[in-house]
Amino acid sequence: MYSFFNMNFIIPDILLLLFPFIVIGSRLFCNYRSQLPWRIANFGFIAIFILLNFIPLASGEGRFFICNWKIDDFGVLMREVLIVSAILGIWLSKDYFEHGADGKPQMHQIAEFIGAIAFATFGGVTVVSACDLLTFFLGLEIATIPMYALTAWNKKDQLGSEAATKYILMGSVATAFELFGFSYLYGFAGSLHFGEIQQAIATGTSPLLWVAVLFLFCGIGFKLTLFPFYTWAPDVYEGAPTPVTAVLSVTSKATAIAFLVVLVFGPLAPVQEQIAPLIALLAGTTLFVGNLGALKQSRLRRFMAYSSIAQAGYIMVALLGPASTAKTAIVYYLFVYAVSNYLAFFIFGIIGHHREETFASLRGLSKQNPSLAVALAISMFSLAGIPPLAGFFGKFHLFFSGASTGHYALVAFAVLNNVLALYYYIQLIKSAWVDEPDGHLSPLRLTRRQRGVIIALSISVVALGFLPFLSNNVFAGFSF
């Protein structure tokens, strides 16, 4: 409570909470083809992002708002990641409300769509600022439930609804696991507050705790698409509309990993060594399986699904490290991952607006539209972790954090898996650069927004990595 009267650091969260109501409410005052909600959304998100950047970092323990809304550096940076993802998401989705793509019909109700995305983002914010299990759980649910709706946004698209069905059924089961874990944790500690749980664990463990941990990891493993809980991801990613896939692959992953970070370095911190093997196994199996699945894909979004499964595995590696390193690594990687992923999805979107989203429709891209092909290569190489692109430095952070506690074997395994990853990313680059175009591919047209975003993202992917003032800025003074 020491800072009850300067609450300015809470303003962005409150804005974010009110924001979806404003956007959806704005629908009442304009007709359905008006650009108003879209404008408000852009303005709002960007404003929130700017406000977030005013929050001073390096404030030690972090600050509290009525005692269980904690805002620390990690939280702020995760907020930034989530907002960036949301902004890019709505920019990506805009075109899908003007005409359909990839054989899916055009989408409607942009205001509600944006609202849903905003809710999901707020859910993520809630997760990173939770101090007790209840808030934690609520945040997770707020982040997840809109995703179900977003997946099924295309009412006329039966793939979408099928994907949504699979998603929500499995999601609810995962929630049940989650709750089970929470309940045992509560039973073990006798309290919902992280601090007390941590003390309880520090004093001593019991099977009850381990059952709780098991269920918690399995439940979150679903959201983070860890092995073997990833099975929903390829289908949902393919069935959902492309912008939703993008948001899924970034926002919900960011939320999930934030959940794990808060859990592992918060209440479970005393037993990090004991659960390290589990984390290592999860990481190893996940990235291996993800890479294997992506090997022979022909449809772009399914391909991205597997690749993001593998990325989740890579992120897990960082959880083995000490708190500060791991958080730095994860936040930085999420930034990089968001940028590269959205770059890829923007390109796929442009492809999808004129053709179906398969490898085959990338053929001859380097001849028709060299700059687009270059951007594609950049994003793919960045996802594959090839220097000097940002993706490499992100992965380097992750492995650095993993290796700092001596898990060389896992790191070596992950690094070797990079070769597999490089293989399938190169497959995609091949179809864009090497394969000859077959005549009946409709030409590509880029709107100004698309071109601008793609250029900006490409530049940031190239520059974010090795330019120290970009990668050091916020993380330099990282002190937990």
Binding site: E141, I145, K155, L169, A176
Partner: protein, 101 residues
Amino acid sequence: MNLMNCLILAFLLFGIGVWGLMRRRHLIGMLISIELMLNAANINFISFAYFSAHDATAGALFSIFVIAVTACEMAIALAIIVTMYRRHKSLDVDQLRDLHD
């Protein structure tokens, strides 16, 4: 009537939920079994709150929130299932084979 019995009860309920989930081919049926699993968790919370925990209110509170959250979840699930039904004219999960590798 002690903690262990309640936990066993909850666990059995959870198991029954899982069993139903596996056996059922009908979406509504599966939703119901999921409800069972969630409520098993609720029983856990309440029993812990009642027997062991030192802030008992938290558990009860939690279970109430859970009920609320699952309510919205079910609402969305039902909405999605309705659209499903519009497309497929059936609620058999075996029909959901369009998305696959």
